[in-house]
């Protein structure tokens, strides 16, 4: 599903963010991308939803080379890739239902589709009773669930999460990461960038470790944050 071959990224100011990344993540797989701040985790995810194109090497998403993707086709790619952020990025003046429906609206979904898909998505993240709430009325964990529901409502093949638990208490973090894990079990490829040792050690899934923009470890068997 995600295939990176010799990928390197150098920013216009000359800073090198990634070098020599060879990474393959299968359909339905769950992978943690771990590393300290500035190790290149976010850059790696940005390559997948084509916020960035690689300076070197190739990034293939479902067999499609993202660098050769014309600008006009980028939206089509983004519909296949859901993204969740640390800071949630919900629209403050729309309620939960509307926030999720927004993702359907902007891809031109019909009213019928919205009424079918939004409740499904809400149910998946366990927020069906909060659909009328505004974001500021929700806890951090609930807001992150709304984000996940929004990312999933278009049934993407890939779900990316960039520090999804960065603003959450450990208990809530654990719930969120379990939710992400259950989503991967339904066939969605999930990649989670994090430096949250607690959730990585707890879940024991694949761990890709970055240091200074290079991959130092790829533990496919389900390791901890530091050690296999």
């Amino acid at each position: 599903m995600i295939d990176m071959q010799g990928v390197g990224v150098v920013y216009p100011d000359g800073t090198r963010a990634l070098a020599g990344i060879d990474l393959h993540i299968d359909r339905g797989e769950f992978a943690f991308i771990v590393g300290a701040s500035g190790s290149g985790k976010t850059t790696l995810l940005q390559l997948i939803y084509r916020e960035l194109v690689p300076t070197e090497g190739r990034v293939l998403i479902a067999g499609q080379d993202v660098a050769s993707l014309p600008r006009s086709r980028v939206p089509q790619l983004r519909r296949k890739v859901g993204v969740v952020f640390q800071d949630f990025r919900l629209l403050p003046d729309k309620n939960v239902w509307e926030n999720i429906a927004f993702a359907l609206d902007v891809v031109g979904a019909s009213r019928k589709e919205k009424y079918r898909k939004v409740p499904l998505s809400l149910e998946l993240v366990g927020l069906i009773d909060k659909e009328q709430s505004l974001p500021h009325e929700l806890s951090g964990g609930e807001q992150q669930r709304v984000c996940i529901a929004r990312a999933l409502v278009n049934s993407p093949a890939i779900l990316l999460a960039d520090e999804p638990t960065g603003n959450l208490d450990p208990d809530i973090s654990w719930e969120i990461v379990q939710l992400l894990s259950s989503i991967s079990e339904r066939g969605t490829t999930v990649a989670v960038a994090t430096h949250d040792r607690y959730i990585v050690d707890g879940l024991r899934k694949r761990v890709v470790s970055l240091v200074g923009g290079t991959m130092v470890r790829d533990d496919r068997e389900g390791g901890g944050y530091d050690e296999p």
């Binding site: 939206p75 790619l77 990025r89 902007v106 031109g108 019909s110």
Partner: protein, 293 residues
Amino acid sequence: MLEFLLQQAWQAIRRNGLVSLAASTNMTVALTILGAFFLATINLHHMAEIEARKAIITVDLLDDADAGKVETQLLADQRVDQTQFVPKEQALKDTCARFGFSIELLKGLEEESPYENPLPNAIAIRVKDPQDIPAVATAAGKLDGVKKVRYRKQITDKLLTLAHGIKVSGLVMAAVMGLATLLLVSTTIRLTIYARRREIRIMQLVGATNWFIRLPFILEGAFHGVVGGVLASILLLASYTYVQGYVGENLAFIGLVFGARPLVLFGVATVACGTVFGVAGSWVGVRGYLRAV
């Protein structure tokens, strides 16, 4: 889908009330200035043309000339609107009338001594476009049987130069004002875009096409254009009607362009102009922003 786009645009207009107000006001002011200039231009041009059209070319004929033949030749010229043969007796009468002589006095003179009318037979020419007066006059001078061609050269030339100058400067001013309006609108749209950057970011992330993101802003620009256009045409038409009334009463010799048809047309054109400016301005603003993202 269309419902969503319209809703987006309307929400943006309402939510950023102050900015929207500024945009519509800007548009109104710009269109009012533009429209006022346009009205002034067409009226000045109209007046200049009326004055110029009054200008007549007088072709004095030789005594033995065949007036009919000359007239036919003159009429063959496409630029000539109409001609009128003025016999020397008529010319004398006109001259006497102009200077306040009595024609009887002249008749009396004639009885005493053999008097000869010193004025020649003449043909008066009106041309279709006052611009052609000098050329037609030159051409007429070359015809057989023509003694002399006269027209009020200086006045006509000055009027024509004035009319032309007004037209050109009006166009230049309109272009400058138009550009300013465009920049104004695009800046306003940029402000709204800035106010909604969070939504745009999310739209991009969940895979909205650029078109889909742009359209509400284009609609918003069109809205400001329409509002500005309607307000500007109300302002302009009201004040123009007032000015026309005043001129009609006090300066009746000035003929303003007036009437239901041209005024309605002018109003419609102002609104259309506003819409075009609004759309073009927001297009510029949106393009600049989305490329930067």
